[in-house]
Symmetry: C2
Subunit: 385 residues, 2 copies
């Protein structure tokens, strides 16, 4: 089994890309990553995407994207794991390269959510939840997260305003990320007055739907000298799952999928939570950020907000989080998000991020991509070479 | 890189399963395969599926199916490659096992096409084609295949009736397959009088939409003695791609995806077309069967029908094809089809097929699963142990 590394990074800005379609976005990011790696071709392409069928009337993205990227005849497949599709595609690339079947695999996460073909994105996104036992009850995805947040506030006797620390941090960092959707800071006061979406979740708890594509080139570590792009080690890319519906969980406030994924990643990498210098959390909603910090072992159950305050999650704090804006500030093109997280974490380790958000003295970054309300979780740990 | 084998097979009948939903079908097939292999759990599950989002309002099948199969916490992912999704999922399992990352992977292909949630299956299936350059022109999937068949008849000066050899053979074999949808023979006369669907394709050229699930357990060959189920070698499981839209192909009658996939499979296995004892062709439409025979190297271009007549594609012929009924007779639950093909080929090599359709003296079987009109092709070569 071969060790693997990333040698190419690509991304489009996260926006409402009215002028570009799904294939344009994917090809732009993939070709950028290939150029960064210094390669003309790859042995295979893994496409992370959730909703191309529902919103762009297009399945079969694997051969479409290799075709339009000029990779005539190359193997291409789409991997779907709801909002975790991006990192799931990276996981598949890791398998292909570590097996020795392929030397270089391109991974592109792509999503076009600001598209309408008979179905709106809220209905489409609800297909990440259990269609028979959640969605039929009228639960949208934000509704499920609202139930979790309400329960969290009740159990731990918190005020809703306590959650502002996560989106305020994300927006502060997004200001300096040229690819972020929301490049403006927000204040605690703005958060407190923000419009309710599904009580207690407000607009500033919610990551925005968006279009975008991000890509990485995964290669065997033994071959990194063949490539132009500065390599970053993939120490672990591990998956944990949980029940799809939250009502089947013994404790809805404990994300077992996160715990399983993170523990596997620590085991495989030989690291522990205290070794992580940067954490790219899946802050689709503020409540998920809190639950992830706890189930990943960074702090004890119910203590995420106090932990974030104490550790200081800003760029110069002891536990920098969502350094390029996270899902909240950068935007959340669902099937692309997991790849954006890994691209941003790799940029941090390369030291190539805009100076106000470059974390100094960082060696190890962890990115965690979550599908649904924690049913699929992929934790990737990267190391500076 | 480890060699891989199959040690468990499972399948549901291919029917209109009005009483069972997507997860029921998938779990039934997967648990059957696990029981056949003699295992209580697996290290990961790859789900082949195309249209769960469009027709069952359900994405995120990976964690759903591991959850309902009682595989709490196990890694699960959905792989999509249109009608090639099933074998694409097998390909992903092969990577996971050959890498050493996993010892046993369950693959389940599942599709529920007789479901309606705001979209009909013809529209949903059209998402396998190019949405921007084919579907927008009003081309349905059968329409694309009709263009290919019309061209074939013209180029090679054939009569439509010449194509009856493929569906007549498929139906003849399906009679003896208890899981087949159409267990009745058809005649050349019935074919000649069959209702036109999209000229020149008639009803008996067209495989039926259907519901079903099939599963295999992929393990490392070095470990086969650990399992109860009789093992079958996977000598190759290789992917070739082509342009998504047929108008981008230099010669629409030459399936380069098939050629690439088959050539890779021959190379990896060290075999050639003459070594294949049984061929499970992707007979979604009769024209695709003919084009596959040619591009796979079994006969020269334009000669498929003569080849089939001369070789005799029946059970006792020199080149038995679609021995359990193929897509035409067994039915075509799209994302499950590629797994059904491999299950049926493996049953042949195990010698466990009903006697009228058991091929004697067979050692090597090849199954070919095709996504779209040849844009993704996965060729799997199995060997008796």
């Amino acid at each position: 089994m071969r060790e693997v590394a990333i040698v190419g990074l690509g991304q489009t800005p996260v926006r409402e890309h009215w002028e570009s379609n799904l294939r344009d976005l994917a090809v732009t990011a993939l070709r950028d990553a290939m150029e960064d790696a210094g390669v003309d071709t790859v042995d295979g392409v893994c496409v992370g995407n959730m909703l191309s069928g529902a919103l762009s009337e297009q399945e079969h993205l694997g051969s479409l994207i290799v075709d339009y990227a000029g990779l005539d005849g190359v193997e291409g497949m789409k991997i779907e794991a709801a909002c975790g599709s991006g990192a799931a595609a990276i996981r598949m690339a890791v398998k292909a390269v570590s097996s020795g079947l392929m030397d270089a695999v391109g991974v592109v996460g792509v999503e076009k959510l600001t598209e309408y073909s008979g179905k709106y994105s809220t209905a489409a996104l609800a297909t990440a939840a259990d269609a028979d036992y959640e969605t039929t009850m009228g639960l949208s995805f934000v509704g499920i997260n609202a139930l979790l947040m309400r329960r969290y506030l009740y159990e731990y006797k918190l005020q809703k305003e306590d959650f502002s620390i996560f989106p305020v941090n994300a927006h502060k960092n997004a200001v300096h990320n040229p690819n972020a959707m929301f490049r403006h800071a927000i204040t605690n006061e703005q958060y407190a007055k923000s419009k309710l979406i599904a009580d207690p979740i407000n607009l500033l708890d919610s990551s925005p739907i968006a279009d975008g594509a991000a890509a990485v080139i995964v290669v065997a570590k033994e071959n990194i000298s063949r490539y132009k792009g500065k390599a970053v080690d993939i120490l672990a890319c591990e998956v944990g799952t949980d029940t799809l519906a939250i009502d089947n969980r013994e404790d809805p406030l404990w994300l077992r999928g996160v715990e399983r994924s993170a523990k596997k990643a620590y085991y495989v990498s030989g690291l522990s939570p205290k070794d992580i210098n940067i954490f790219e959390a899946h802050d689709a909603f503020s409540i998920i950020t809190a639950l992830s910090l706890e189930a990943s072992g960074f702090t004890e159950k119910g203590n995420a907000i106090k932990f974030a305050e104490r550790a200081n999650i800003g760029i110069n704090g002891t536990f920098p989080m969502n350094t390029s804006g996270g899902l909240k500030g950068r935007g959340h093109p669902v099937g692309a998000t997991g790849v954006y997280q890994v691209v941003e974490a790799a940029q941090q380790l390369r030291g190539t991020v805009a100076s106000p958000i470059q974390v100094e003295n960082n060696k190890i970054a962890m990115a965690q991509n979550i599908g649904g309300s924690g049913a699929t979780v992929i934790t990737t740990i990267l190391k500076q070479i």
